[in-house]
């Protein structure tokens, strides 16, 4: 049987149990283990990183440039036939509209969580993003709120996180970035040719392209090799560990302290609370062989994703919900996507999935000339198995379901949707709404017979209108850059973004928030949250850098509540 137990395997008494090993869990484990706390990290998925706990050897990944394994066979992602999710737009839809859909929670289950599959685009939020409760209070039927931690207070943790995970970028290149205390730990890597082609349009229209901050090594860094731009990046674990996932950075550091134990394929199914429900005493798990095992500790951290965190609280009897806000304000970034197909081969499938971007469409609150949307990623096309599927769908629609093998083969050879395509993806602000909520489906269960999460989610007119504002501008860029064909991709009804936020909003008022400024539950003295569930608002920048930085701060506050910043290692 393969290995599922890592780190200090002799530990059997723990100060803290961290549920989840991704961008929210790994940083907390690192901070606590470094401070001498005995930490148990429980991860539902398997570990594909041999030697992750071996100081004498480099990590050897089972990840590979294998499109079938990753994109089709769910090597990392949830399997919707045994772990379904359901979705509806509102209670009026009935119990659900969609069943057995993975789109509503599309994060990997593996050691390192979502930070493994991501191409780790790591921009910080802007300082304005922490103040929309004040700046956007007039948006009807939205629940914008100020963050209890403002940018200036989070900035040292951003800088710490960038050092720990290894982020490349260049200070001053994004004209809209907020004040930084220093440059990025690494310079930008080489650009992708397709980005340079797109930049012809950006330059002509007065927009500013910049190197996308990413936790991808542009040079050898912290014992890990430089990225060689293999092309299998977004959605793929890195075969050479050049991506700074939680697993190969902070979690490995935690395991090497001797203070941390990692149990993979160990799924937490219930938080065990005292009679008053204000203290957690243990967690009930299902182990790799399917047996029920309980672990105890003094303190507990939820970092299993905004949807799974809530599910676990509800499976445990509805803990921590005196505010009535558990599960509410579920957010995904509202994506507007344009594609351009060029006469020349721009080979956007080579390289990091996204090497450049621009923030001219991030906008400002209450500015009709520049409505609030988000950073725009300049991305290449996919790979051949996926490409073949796109053509199959196109042929089915354009040819009334009639297959045309010769035309299909011509498409594969000429490759408009892989070798000649570039995408522009706006990751736009998603207005929080109390009515967008995670709860338990009343009927559907998973492999272990447990109720599955149900997402009730509908986009707000705020983001819909803002997205529509920028659609023609995206097409202008594509055509100015020389695209022969360009369009906005049709939207799916089910939210499918992997940027999942909200559900355990943090704030200073226990009546309107679930957790406090330090991530501790208002109602439960020894339970914390440390992932994107804490976000009161979504910003219009990729969330992972902020998740990791906030998690570092949660860990630091667990070590020193009076002065979390004093815990930062420079």
């Amino acid at each position: 049987m393969r290995k599922t137990l890592y780190g200090n395997t002799q530990l059997d008494k723990f100060d803290v149990i961290v549920i989840g090993s991704g961008a929210g869990g790994g940083p907390v484990a690192h901070v606590l283990a470094a401070a001498g706390q005995k930490v148990l990290v429980l991860e539902a998925g398997p570990c594909h990183l041999d030697n992750i706990d071996d100081p004498a050897h480099d990590i050897v990944a089972r990840f590979s440039n294998d499109e079938l394994k990753i994109e089709r066979r769910n090597f990392m992602l949830q399997n919707e036939n045994v772990e379904p999710r359901t979705w509806r737009t509102a209670a009026a839809d009935g119990p659900r509209i969609e069943t057995l859909t993975g789109n509503v929670q599309f994060l990997p289950k593996t050691v390192g969580g979502g930070s493994v599959h991501a191409d780790l685009k790591m921009p910080r939020f802007e300082s304005q993003d922490f103040q929309f409760g004040t700046l956007l209070k007039n948006v009807q039927n939205a629940s914008f709120a100020d963050w209890p931690v403002q940018y200036d207070e989070l900035e040292p943790f951003y800088a710490w996180g960038e050092r720990l995970l290894g982020v490349q970028g260049k200070i001053g290149t994004n004209p809209f970035e907020s004040k930084r205390s220093g440059d990025y730990p690494m310079p930008p890597g080489p650009p992708m040719y397709g980005s340079l082609v797109v930049n012809k349009g950006l330059s002509a229209l007065g927009y500013t392209m910049f190197p996308y901050p990413t936790a991808v090594n542009s040079i050898p860094y912290d014992g890990r090799s430089a990225c060689n731009n293999c092309g299998f990046c977004s959605g793929y674990g890195c075969p050479i560990n050049a991506k700074g996932s939680s697993a190969v950075t902070v979690l490995r550091k935690a395991l090497l302290t001797g203070n941390c134990q990692l149990r993979a394929e160990t799924r937490v199914v219930r938080l065990v609370a005292n009679g008053q429900g204000n203290q957690i005493t243990g967690v009930e798990t299902i182990d790799p062989l399917g047996a029920r095992v309980t672990f105890t500790a003094d303190r507990f951290v939820l970092a299993a994703s905004p949807i799974e965190d809530v599910r676990l609280l509800l499976l445990s009897g509805g803990l921590g919900n005196s505010s009535g806000m558990v599960g509410r304000n579920l957010m995904f970034h509202y994506q507007t996507i344009a594609f351009g197909i060029y006469g020349e081969r721009v080979h956007g499938y080579r390289g990091r999935a996204v090497a450049q971007g621009f923030a001219d469409f991030r906008g400002k609150p209450n500015d009709p000339a520049h409505p609030l949307a988000g950073i725009t990623e300049i991305s290449g096309g996919g790979l051949p198995v996926g490409e073949a599927s796109y053509y199959a769908r196109v042929l089915a629609q354009a040819k009334a379901g009639k297959w045309n093998g010769k035309l299909f083969k011509a498409l594969m050879r000429e490759s408009p949707a892989r070798d000649r395509i570039m995408l522009l993806v706006i990751q736009a602000e998603d207005a929080p709404q109390v009515s967008n909520i995670v709860d338990l489906d009343p009927d559907y269960v998973d492999l272990d017979g447990l109720p599955v999460p149900r997402c009730t989610y509908k986009s707000h007119p705020f983001e819909v209108a803002n997205g529509q504002f920028y659609e023609p501008k995206l097409l202008d860029i594509m055509m100015k850059s020389g695209a022969r064909y360009a369009a906005i991709t049709p939207r799916d009804d089910v939210p499918s973004s992997q940027h999942i936020m909200g559900t355990l909003r943090f704030g200073n008022d226990p009546k309107t928030s679930v957790c406090d400024k330090n991530g501790k539950f208002h109602d439960i003295g020894n339970l914390f949250a440390s992932d994107g569930a804490l976000f009161p608002t979504s910003s219009g920048y990729n969330p992972t850098m902020t998740i990791a930085s906030l998690a570092l701060r949660v860990g630091a506050a667990m070590v020193n509540p009076a002065s979390p910043a004093s815990v930062i290692k420079t």
Binding site: R62, S64, N65, D66, E67, F75, N79, N81, V82, L100, K109, G189, P190, S218, A226, N228, C230, P239, I240, Q335, G343, E344, R345, G351, A353, S379, G382, L383, P384, A388, A392, V394, A396, Q397, A398, G401, W403, N404, G405, L407, K409, A410, L411, R413, S415, P416, R420, I421, L423, V425, V445, L447, L475, M479, R484, Y485, I488, T489, D492, Q498
Partner: protein
């Protein structure tokens, strides 16, 4: 993850394939077997090759059959037929097809071993998921998780074979006597959900890594002018001072030489049709 271009939603695709599963769950048992794997009769195997060549027709390069569609499908559908690790996930990190870089950032003459040839053991949840997909509800001792709500799930094997039998029966004259155009017409007359399933499997065979049983001789990747898995060479290497790019397949500059297959009038016409349908722009 960045979003991919999307013309039919993933949700719709799942629904189409799922529809076939529900339909076939209640169909009578499939015909006997006669192939080496015990999976297909000779007639079914021949029909599968025929339809693979409808999906990817042979010309001066191989069609779907010679790209390994049958061996790929047989390998997938028999993944749980013995006690070895199921052939679902190839190993990593390297295939051995690309060389290690040398100190100057260029390709060396040393190649890593082929880790793709190893198989990765499935964890508890993945094994249940794949048993359910390949063997249907009968593949799990307690059936599928929501069987009382959704009904039993048909095995991939039954879905495929039932559709093949139906296609064979509907062919008039028999497939062996039909021209390539008639075979395409026979294929197009089959239920959309089954067509989607077989298109998915045949194209996976053609364009996935060859360790899964298809893409024989890397002919699928050659056909679409794709370099394949690129590690550990990648498309750029840090030489200690700068990134060195592959001269044949550069990262930050245009490809050398002329376009290997420029946009043809037929493809141009199709793209214009699609762009007009979704309200885009053309130059």
């Amino acid at each position: 993850m960045s979003s991919r271009i999307q013309l039919v939603s993933r949700r719709q695709l799942i629904r189409m394939v799922g529809g076939a599963a529900t339909l076939l769950a209640s169909s009578p048992g499939c015909k006997g077997s006669g192939s080496a794997s015990g999976l297909f009769s000779d007639e079914q195997r021949t029909a599968l090759r025929t339809f693979a060549d409808v999906i990817i027709p042979p010309d001066d390069e191989p069609g779907g059959a010679d790209l390994g569609a049958v061996s790929y499908i047989e390998r997938l559908l028999t993944a749980f037929d013995n006690n070895d690790a199921p052939a679902i996930f190839a190993g990593g990190p390297f295939s051995g097809r690309q060389p290690l870089p040398d100190a100057s950032g260029h390709a060396s003459t040393n190649f890593p071993t082929n880790d793709f040839a190893d198989l990765i053991e499935l964890d508890r949840v993945s094994e249940a998921s794949w048993r359910l997909r390949i063997l249907g509800s009968a593949g799990l001792s307690n059936g599928s998780p929501n069987q009382k709500l959704t009904g039993a799930i048909a095995s991939l094997r039954d879905q495929l074979v039932a559709g093949l039998d139906a296609a064979i029966s509907s062919a008039d004259p028999p497939l062996a006597q039909q021209s390539p155009d008639d075979r395409e017409a026979t294929f197009n007359a089959q239920p959309p959900a089954w067509k989607n399933l077989i298109i998915e499997l045949v194209t996976e065979a053609a364009f996935a890594a060859p360790e899964y049983g298809g893409n024989i001789g890397l002919a699928g990747w050659k056909m679409c002018h794709f370099e394949g898995d690129s590690q550990p060479l990648g498309y750029s290497q840090w030489d200690g001072v700068k990134h060195v790019e592959r001269p044949d397949s550069p990262l930050s500059t245009p490809n050398p030489g002329p376009d290997v297959a420029a946009i043809s009038p037929d493809v141009d016409q199709l793209l214009k049709l699609v762009i007009a349908f979704i309200g885009g722009r053309t130059a």
